[in-house]
Amino acid sequence: MSGVPPVLNRRRLLGFGGFLLVIAAAPLVVSHGYALSLFCQIGVMTVFALSYNMLLGQTGLLSFGHAVYFGMGALGTIHALNAVSAGARWFPVTLLPLAGGAAGLLLGLVLGAVTVRRAGTTFAMISLGIGEMVAASSLMFPAVFGGEGGVSGNRVTGQGWFGVTYGPQLQVYYLIAGWAFVATVAMYALTQTPLGRVANAVRDNPERAQFLGYNPQRVRFLMVALGGFFAGIAGGLSALNYEIVTAEALSAHTSGAVLLMAYVGGAGTFYGPILGAAIITVMQVVVAGITKAWPFYFGLFFLVIVLYAPGGVAGVLQLHLRARRAGMLRRLAPAYLAGAGPVALLVGGTVTLVELAYAVVNRVEEGTARLRLPGLVLDSRTAPPWIGAAAAVLVGALLLRVVWKRISGRWAEIHAALAAEGRS
């Protein structure tokens, strides 16, 4: 062993350099206003989801109330912004998310002290209760929370520096991207500190960590507080992005959304939540634009991930990378090709069924019962489309069962080969 490994090794340089390149170049590649606001949203959610994963992935704390830190951070930032606008205080707008971080940290210190006694299911329940409490009290103090209408602000104050006023969305994007990069690096660095490592130990086996002399409650408390800090920064970024904060920001709905992002992306890896934030935000914006049924697809997608890919997207990716490194990815190709047909049938049939159902329900509102697809019009009042779609689902599911056996057989071979390689 040659002492401490270098902080900037090749993998990290490549990973974070690539990340920086992507976020810096994204608005240059697609500069459409719609895409830009989508990127801004992804940036905010990236920080939020990563902060959530400090609890779920790294400390093993499943929280259903993480939005309170996000909401508090957003409120802290918007109030600070309004104080700056009114000339009461001088503070650069660029650093305002720090006000959000401070608010989140403060709340994390307070709530963390009450909630971290136990991990697991108990923590989940308590975090839900605390989240509901904060959300319910938001309507009681309109001076702080803004009541029904929320608190709004104006991020353009004063002359700005060198033309940076944060008026144009592009400048806000780079503000968010810069903060997202810094926060991501900071959160990654945290995983490498002794605290981050002990948090992993507490997640895996709290008793053993305690035997080694660490206090699991204290470790959880610190992680909750720090998670609150980064969630607060994310909230601050969202406040600057939208220039309005409503009670929605700290609702159970937002807590659920961040949980979905971290889990769908993959809580087991550091970069998983980034993928999750991107995938789910795109789904929310793009799919919601296409169909009214998007929350339904969303729920289905989540259940499929929970039941069949508990490692999330990143977990699946990781698995295939390992197979590729061993040069065995090619063995999977035929089985995957065979699976494509059944999957297409299953997905197509399900989507058609759901859309038909929505067409029936919305018939009254929109005066149409027809489902228009490119080159095809399905009438939801007649039986054939329903029967066809149901048949597609059934046949797809049956075929997939057969193909699945082949795929899992291949994977068994690969795992066996990898294990043998590891031993030799």
Partner: protein, 312 residues
């Protein structure tokens, strides 16, 4: 006195309703370690199915049919979903039920629309049961109480006096041993999960028309039931009963009175011209967060809950 008695009766009715939900949740939790997020969804489904079945067959058949349907659905969910998620641990199970609750809400909106449905108290139960001083107590509230008490008694007898109840109690503490003695423990799990769902649905049937049947009812009820379970002590049926009544009565009293700290100060003869917003909040305004405040207080002063055996 009049206000006190009527509010107490209303509070007990609400508390018993909470217990119908929390008893199933507690049983499922202490047996399988699953915090069933979809529990309140079963409650909502019960109300909607009762509305649907009731429109065809009338209220009384619906009272029986809706819980049975939802119970079967619950058993199917356990068999096909929860058991599968179990392989990946408790977090996956919890998230599965979380996703399910999301899907159920969407499904309900899809089938019955976003607005509240017109699910009414049957005419035979409409009217006053008795009059206390000048306020009449609705007959339907009395019916709700009777159903919950009957269910409570039934649950108690089923758990303590029947063979199945014996196996359930044994599986609570020593599932491996029960399995070794030749009982099908997974089937017992399915049974408990299904029965819990049926109980929740029964609560939905009798509460849906007394309150309101709308897609948000599960999301409104779910967190409160969780709080009841935490306050009572995880896995303790007696604790859940006590906490249900406590929260039910307390919340009903708070909703019914618009007293605030400022009022109290005035009563004591203190003038408070510019009191802070916190002091001016009335009890009614504080009612929605009361269960959560109670939960935090219990967590700080008695972490294992009112009657929990172990520390939560």
């Amino acid at each position: 006195m009049e206000f006190l008695l009527i509010t107490l009766l209303n509070g007990v009715t609400y508390g018993l309703l909470l217990f119908m939900l929390s008893s199933g949740l507690t049983l499922i939790f202490s047996m399988m370690g699953i915090l069933n997020f979809a529990h309140a969804s079963f409650y909502m489904l019960g109300a909607y199915l009762a509305f649907q079945v009731g429109a065809r067959l009338g209220f009384w058949p619906a009272l029986l049919v809706a819980p049975l349907l939802v119970g079967a659905l619950g058993a199917a969910v356990e068999r096909l979903g929860v058991r599968k998620a179990h392989r990946f641990g408790h977090v996956a199970e919890l998230l599965f039920t979380f996703g399910l609750s999301f899907l159920v809400e969407e499904l309900v909106q899809l089938v019955w629309g976003k607005a509240a449905v017109d699910y009414r108290v049957p005419p035979s139960l409409d009217g006053a049961a008795f009059t206390l001083f000048r306020t009449s107590f609705p007959l339907y509230k009395g019916f709700m109480m009777a159903v919950s008490l009957a269910m409570l008694l039934g649950l108690y007898l089923a758990i303590t006096r029947t063979r199945v109840g014996l196996v359930i109690r044994a599986s609570l503490t020593r599932p491996e041993m029960v399995q070794a003695l030749g009982h099908d423990v997974p089937r017992v799990f399915t049974l408990v999960f299904g029965s819990g769902a049926a109980l929740a649905a029964l609560a939905g049937v009798i509460a849906g028309n007394a309150y309101v049947t709308e897609p948000g009812m599960a999301a409104a009820m779910g967190p409160i039931v969780f709080v009841v379970v935490v306050v009572g002590g995880l896995g303790s049926l007696g604790g859940a009963f006590l906490a249900s009544l406590l929260i039910g009565v307390l919340q009903t009293f708070m909703v019914a009175s618009d007293f605030s700290v400022v009022d109290l100060a005035r009563r004591l003869g203190l003038g408070v011209p510019d009191a802070p917003a916190l002091a001016r909040l009335s009890l009614t305004q504080l009612a929605p967060i009361m269960p959560y405040l109670l939960m935090v207080a219990v967590l700080i002063f008695r972490p294992r809950g009112l009657m929990g055996a172990r520390e939560t």
